[in-house]
């Protein structure tokens, strides 16, 4: 008994033709997101739109309660980040006017917010890929964009608070809310992206994410009305 022999079966050419029937199961389910199906051409537009909206909504939910990791990563899309980024840019931009000090708010322009969010996500993703992480480029950009949701919520609440007459207490409240949004965003993105880094470099990969959300939170807290 020197070991087990491997068996190899070799078949001659069959010669005759092979026939059969194929049934594709689950043809009605629309869960295969990116795969082209004939049905989607015929369905009403409302179904198509609602399917994508539902996918985006599910991802937002997973960001708010980051327990399950797979869904954000496996089927990435960039609709959520685009919506969040556009919304934040519209709210955060400085009031219109030239660089005349009296009229200008001094806040970032719309394009500057866009640059910070998108180029920032790309740089952070590139950094984690260069450090040896095994996550795809768009998955990481998707996660970083979706995790902007807590900071956007903080921005909305701060904007509502800004309608009242400002005093120190309200400023502290805004500050605390912004810090909360920042911490939540960083924690959520770490849950999704944390495993993909080699050990010993986790802090190196997490720090840029921290810096990214810190800068965005600074933009949120600095925003004020004239």
């Amino acid at each position: 008994m020197s070991g087990e022999d491997a068996k190899l079966d070799v078949f001659e050419d069959f010669g005759a033709s092979v026939e059969g029937e194929m049934t594709v199961p689950n043809q009605q389910k629309s869960q295969q997101h990116g795969k082209p199906e004939f049905n989607t051409l015929d369905e009403p537009i409302r179904d198509t739109v609602l399917r994508d909206v539902k996918a985006v909504g599910v991802k937002f939910f997973h960001v708010l309660y980051p327990k399950e990791k797979k869904s954000l990563l496996k089927e990435w899309d960039l609709w959520g980040p685009l919506v969040l980024c556009t919304f934040m840019a519209m709210v955060l931009r400085g009031s219109s006017g030239s660089s005349d000090d009296s009229a200008n708010d001094g806040g970032p322009e719309v394009a500057e917010v866009f640059v910070i969010v998108w180029i920032g996500s790309m740089v952070v993703t590139l950094n984690s890929k260069l450090l040896g992480g095994n996550i795809s480029f768009f998955q990481s950009v998707c996660v970083l964009g979706y995790c902007l949701l807590p900071t956007t919520i903080a921005l909305i609440v701060c904007r509502i608070i800004l309608f009242l007459q400002q005093n120190w207490f309200l400023f502290i409240l805004r500050f605390v809310l912004t810090m909360l949004g920042f911490g939540w965003a960083t924690f959520a993105s770490m849950v999704f992206l944390g495993d993909s880094q080699p050990p010993g470099r986790k802090a190196l990969a997490v720090y840029p994410i921290f810096l990214f959300y810190f800068v965005i939170s600074w933009l949120v807290i600095s925003h004020s009305t004239t």
């Binding site: 001094g106 260069l130 004239t226």
Partner: protein
């Protein structure tokens, strides 16, 4: 059968040969795969087994790196080239940052900390952090300077773009100029590579991050003092790096230029973002009381004049 990865070996009961009972998972054998002849039994020793001390923390990547010098280095346009530049661990980066702030006279920062593997992670992220640290502290300082007065403060996002241009150009162009100079006019004793130069410069900027936060304290002489101490500490590390590479005749002006540029960068930040509103505020507030006084004088004199006529 072909998918199974276990090979069972018969343990020969003869006294001379004892076979080790080994498992060979097919996917992650760390070293060169050994071929086994299962008919004869012999002892097998492995040099690259994962149990050797010191290799517990290293993953499969380190094995490839030890074979590094034998592989041709990847070309400039591939992703792997840049991956080699980011091949650092957390502890390495922390060490490099720490020692860039503390000059040790006999101990070349370059030799001990950077030399075998310069990285670009540190310089890039230190520059980016510095930009935002300056922008945020600058805005905060501006706010604190105008807090008590009746001045409606607006935050200034332009600071980020100005700081970004200044820091990134300093971190790229100065090492490039110094490297080019040393290459064509320098001595042969110590050759400094371009990446090493950029690495040292990048890490030497790291001291300005706590310095920019300390600049929030609104005391003039303290700000200058902090500036001087910071520039001296990291400048001396820079100097000691460049010292052996510069020829004796040109040593003094070159090193003075290196230190001077370092100081200039920090002084520029301090003056532009942390200092300026001091003077502008005092000049704008003083004319106002005079205007108010003159208006009230003219109004009382105008009011006083008609009265004697009545």
């Amino acid at each position: 059968m072909a998918g199974s990865s276990l090979i069972d070996m018969e343990i020969d009961t003869s006294a001379d040969s004892q076979l080790q009972f080994q498992e060979f998972p097919a996917s992650n054998v760390p070293g060169p795969v050994a071929e086994l002849d299962v008919r004869s039994s012999h002892t097998l020793t492995f040099n690259h087994s994962p149990d050797t001390p010191g290799s517990d923390t290293e993953g499969p990547e380190s094995e490839l790196l030890r074979d590094g010098p034998q592989k041709p280095s990847p070309s400039f346009w591939t992703f792997e080239f840049y991956q080699k530049l980011f091949d650092v661990d957390t502890q390495t980066v922390v060490d490099r940052i720490l020692w860039s702030m503390i000059p040790r006279p006999g101990h070349s920062y370059l030799q001990h900390h950077i030399r075998p593997k310069p990285d670009l992670y540190g310089p890039f992220w230190i520059c980016t952090t510095l930009i935002f640290a300056i922008a945020i502290s600058g805005n905060l300082a501006n706010y604190l300077q105008t807090a008590g007065k009746d001045f409606h403060w607006k935050y200034n996002f332009r600071v980020v773009t100005y700081a970004a241009s200044a820091v990134y150009s300093y971190a790229w162009i100065t090492p490039m100029v110094l490297w080019a100079y040393l290459r064509w006019c320098g001595g042969q004793e110590a050759r400094l590579g371009f990446l090493e130069m950029m690495c040292v410069y990048g890490y030497s900027l790291s001291i300005y991050i706590p310095v920019s936060i300390l600049w929030l304290i609104e005391v003039d002489w303290l700000q200058w003092l902090i500036l001087g101490v910071g520039a001296a500490l990291s400048g001396s590390v820079l100097l000691m790096t460049a010292w052996p590479a510069v020829q004796k005749t040109h040593r003094l002006p070159v090193l003075a230029a290196v230190l001077g540029l370092h100081l200039l960068l920090a002084a520029g930040f301090m003056l532009c973002f942390f200092h300026a509103p001091h003077t502008s505020l005092t000049t704008t507030t003083t004319p106002q009381p005079a205007a108010v006084v003159s208006v009230s004088v003219s109004s009382t004199s105008a009011a006083a004049q008609p009265q004697p006529q009545h």
